[in-house]
Each structure stands twice: as structure tokens, then as C-alpha cells.
Amino acid sequence: MNHMVQYSKGHLDASFSALSDATRRGVLEQLGRGDASITDLADKFHMTLTGMKKHVGVLEEAGLVATEKVGRVRTCRLGPGRLEAETAWLEGYRLLWDARFDELESLVQEMKRKEEIDGRNKRK
């Protein structure tokens, strides 16, 4: 069972960058409760229509939101590309470990340099 292979890396990158913004996460949460128009969302998040359109655009590109224009109203709902919670969790957990291992690696490099200097000093 390999959950990571179900999603291409590009898709994950787009999703995570779309989700890096608190307003956009709020929009997704809101749409999880029911469809809404861009005007509704702009009101709800105290934003201009233009600002909200931009956020919805980013979410739409990542496949997290789908929109449909009927008459003059553009309605938004959760899109087909939303990540399974488990996949999102795994990627988040991987990012934590990646950051943690980066720090470990730089500490180990520093320890190594120190040892080499100490070694040279002892030989003097």
C-alpha cells in the first residue's frame, strides 16, 4: 500500500502552495460546509471581490476548488483534486522530518569540522 504514488509531485506542490495561505484554507473550510459565491466568500472574509477572485483562482488551479458561472454569479465548491487527509498528513510529516534531518546534518557537519580541527591541534 503506497499512498504517495497516487499523487504526482507537481500536484502536491501546487496544493501545498495553494494551502500556504490562511485565507485560502479558510475558504476551503467554508466550502466544506456548502457551496458559496465569490461575493459570499468576499463578505465572509472581509475582502474585496478582486482579492477573493485571486485566492479562488489559485485554489482552482490546484484543483482544490471548482467554479461555475450561472448568470452573473460565480459559484464555488470543493474541487476534484482535493487531497486525501492521509496524503496531506504524510506529506506534512515528511516535510517536518526533512527539515529536522537538514538541521541534524548541519550539526553533524559542524561536529566533524570541530573534530578535524581538534585533531590537527593535537598533532601540533
Binding site: 526533512d98 534531518f101 557537519q109
Partner: protein, 159 residues
């Protein structure tokens, strides 16, 4: 080139994380088992939390306890005990702060040409325990997951 970290759920009860770290196993092991060194890397600088204290009695049967500060004031502990300690090659520990749902973590250090391959294996007591650890379970929807991200970071922080 930066070394890549992989993360995979390999079965209903298991997660496996791998990473190659530049440097000998001896030093990587030391950084993992000396509190004053461990404290320098366990919480990445980009994370909204810090490690307040760290006690580690690194020997079979010895206990560890970490205290994190989260969001400024809130604190949170992670604790357990070491089951196996084999210098420079293998560490096994429990994660008792999760109670009966806690995983047993096995970490191996394998040195090759001056680099160390780390393989961390987390074995959960049941499928339910791992599903629960991965938070939202059946609820699905990434917004829920991200709303819980702050809590998740805390659960991730256990050793």
C-alpha cells in the same frame, strides 16, 4: 545536492522514513543521543515551537522526557523509554505519551562512504492507532487536516 527524505506508510500499522545524512554514523548517533546536541536540531527553526527541556537516559530501559513550548506559553510533553541501544547502529524507543496507541520506533544507522543512511520505522499497535495518529481519518478533506496542523506539529514532535 540536498539529500532527500522519503516517507511511506508501508502497511496498516507501519510508517517508514528514510534519509541519508552526510557524516559518519558515530557522529549522527552522538547527535541523536546527547541531550545538549539533540536539543540543537530536533525542532527545526522554521517550526512554531521550541524545546524547553530534554532529559535522556540513553540505555536499554532508560527513560526520556521532552518538554515543548508551543504558541508561546502552552507546553506539551513527550516521553517514553529506550528498549534497545546499540551504539552507532540501532536505537529502539517507545512513545508513551500517546498511551496505548503509541508506536514503537526503530531507528537504524548505516554508514557508507562517509554518509549515514537513517531508516526510521514506526510500528503502531493497530491500524486504528495509526489511522488516529494521522488525525482526521475518515473525515477527509485537507482543510480539516490543516486546521489541525498546529496540533499535528505537536504530535510530530515526539522522538
Amino acid at each position: 545536492m540536498k539529500n532527500h527524505t522519503t516517507m511511506e506508510r508501508t502497511s496498516e500499522r507501519e510508517l517508514v522514513v528514510t534519509r541519508t545524512v552526510s557524516g559518519p554514523a558515530r557522529l549522527v548517533f552522538e547527535a541523536w543521543t546527547k541531550p545538549e546536541l539533540f536539543q540543537q536540531w530536533w525542532v527545526p527553526k522554521s517550526f512554531p515551537m521550541s524545546l524547553v527541556s530534554c532529559e535522556m537516559d540513553v540505555r536499554a530501559g532508560g527513560a526520556y522526557r521532552l518538554v515543548f513550548s508551543f504558541g508561546g506559553s502552552e507546553t506539551m510533553g513527550a516521553f517514553g523509554k529506550y528498549i534497545e541501544v546499540t551504539p552507532h547502529s540501532r536505537l529502539v524507543w517507545t512513545n508513551d505519551d500517546a498511551g496505548e496507541a503509541g508506536a514503537v520506533t526503530t531507528l537504524t544507522f548505516e554508514e557508507k562512504a562517509g554518509k549515514t543512511l537513517l531508516v526510521m520505522h514506526e510500528l503502531y499497535p493497530s491500524k486504528d492507532a495509526l489511522d488516529a495518529a494521522m488525525t482526521s481519518g475518515e473525515k477527509s478533506g485537507v482543510s480539516e487536516t490543516l486546521d489541525q496542523l498546529d496540533e499535528v506539529i505537536v504530535t510530530w514532535a515526539r522522538p
